[in-house]
Point group: C2
Chain length 338, copies 2
Amino acid sequence: MTPVNLKSLAEQLNMSIATVSRALRDSHEVSEATKARVRALATALNYEPNAYASSLRRNLSKTIGVVIPKVANHFFALAINGIEEAARQSGYHVLIYLTHDDYAREVSIVQHLKGGRIDGLLMSVASGTEDFAHIKSLQETNLPIVFFDRVCAEVPTAKVTTNDYESGYRATEHLIQAGCQHIAHLLISNNLSIGQFRQQGYLDALQAHGRAHAPDLVLPGVMDNEQNVVLIRELLQRRPDIDGIFASVERLAISTYHVCRELGRRIPDDIKIIGFSNLEAASLLAPPLSTITQPAYDIGREAAKILLRAVEKKKPVLPSQSLVLESTLFERDSTARR
Amino acid sequence: MTPVNLKSLAEQLNMSIATVSRALRDSHEVSEATKARVRALATALNYEPNAYASSLRRNLSKTIGVVIPKVANHFFALAINGIEEAARQSGYHVLIYLTHDDYAREVSIVQHLKGGRIDGLLMSVASGTEDFAHIKSLQETNLPIVFFDRVCAEVPTAKVTTNDYESGYRATEHLIQAGCQHIAHLLISNNLSIGQFRQQGYLDALQAHGRAHAPDLVLPGVMDNEQNVVLIRELLQRRPDIDGIFASVERLAISTYHVCRELGRRIPDDIKIIGFSNLEAASLLAPPLSTITQPAYDIGREAAKILLRAVEKKKPVLPSQSLVLESTLFERDSTARR
DNA sequence: GCAGCTACCGAAAACGTTTGCGTAAATAAA
DNA sequence: TTTATTTACGCAAACGTTTTCGGTAGCTGC
């Protein structure tokens, strides 16, 4: 069985490889008659151009990379959904890499991407990452990068985020208006910029409503879920007066539900909870969870579109192309006034 | 700025390209002394081999493809997690494609994969797919394929699934033992083999317990969620005697919760529900949902391992390498006896 | 009849890597 | 000493595609 490539096609058609290639790319330097002959044979033999030869020659892979902390999370899953959609529409392929929020793994992945495997990168940095040299070094190879959600402030490029400050502010204000006196903030991580924005919103909302800020009401989450449960239990036992919780990330809200059930705290009677979440079943929880829901699909799609525009036009991605999308606050029973 | 490739390295080291290449691949045909010199410069200049040149020459891309219906679904997200883990351990990259359960899209994706972009394929077929010619044709190019969960019976290769028949049987039996008289089955799709297995388990369990089988109690789900809500509402209104529901897929269980809430049916008092689901928050629902939970992460990882073994050894994947993993039944309040 | 077009096509050089083969020197065996 | 064998490296041909640089026709307008 002979391989079906440009050479074999050219031989069967009695023409040069160059002509076959041009015919398939619909070049104007080839007559309609020969184009038709070439196309007929190509489809008959199910010809598909070798992606690697093409990529090598054109220095273009038609592939983008996505580096994210995890995929088993509705936010990132939806984001990938949007990314894949945008990529498919432009004929691009999507390579996926998971850091599991591990700095060393992130560095290793980013280093490997220097091999020219991708034309552009979409990234949401690991929560443990503090040094961004690996990313900067990648950007210096002229690879376009767009950050989404967990952005890296130090790298000058476009970022797609949500209005995290306002969301933190509104969530906190919502708890205040529901009657909460002592509101804790369960933070993602200390060094993520989105976490800092949400934290600032929380602080400003407290201040605007004349509440004192107690530093021991802010709990930075960790990677491990079991560990988080322990930390939250500790917090609720140390400060039994806490009657409101703002969780900056879904899994912390879920962990809080478990802890409350364990400690016999009634939601929303004893304690009210609101959290960032893209959980579809939020309205079916007991009680239904009030959420700040990010437009995850749109974040992914818009980030990909910005990246792909830059890739296609061979222009760098500018910080000015950054986008801020709006989250939505859904009031449900977990913050109901009683 | 000169590019950093084998040629530039060779020039700076005053040796041939071949030697540099061999040194970096740790060939025994190169002295330790020169290896050291080469490696030193390579790391100093942050050399990363061009993936496409290498792939072209070796006819190996170190990349596998994953074709799945969707990613915004905890089962598939976990499966990808397992796949990525196995791939990373073997130094492979993961390309991801979503069919959105659309046959035409699946065909188009599979056709594109003939370009040699991947060394192997992991696939969960779209629920609408009835003709498998596109997959067979891809397999004829000697590309190793491994199916997982939503397998394709007609293609002779390895498949990684769960014990779907037994799970369907046990779920149905569980409802019977909880006191249900009229049990409906909400099916994924008529032409998926896993759906047929679950359905057969449902039927056999009914028969084993002397229950008559009413064909109008079996509802094949559709793609659209809104549509499913309508169908389920219709079913519950047409057959008000239904007091047990076995949902073959998570979103049908969720839709059933919504319908029950809307119609004022109390779970589990009026109607009991069990469903296939990987929802983490299942225990926090109102009421907590009884589930058959598939080992999604393991399914993905094992499928990837089988595929990668075949790829590395350049041997075809045999149907005899198929694997059946066990699902777990979690009893929760949605099927509690009252 | 001739320069200047256009329309079509082919030869060949890239892209960066891997690898079969050749070969010189060094070492071992005879 | 001569003859194998090993060690360490270079040359050059691939892999399949794209693209530059032509080149040959057949036109047009003068």
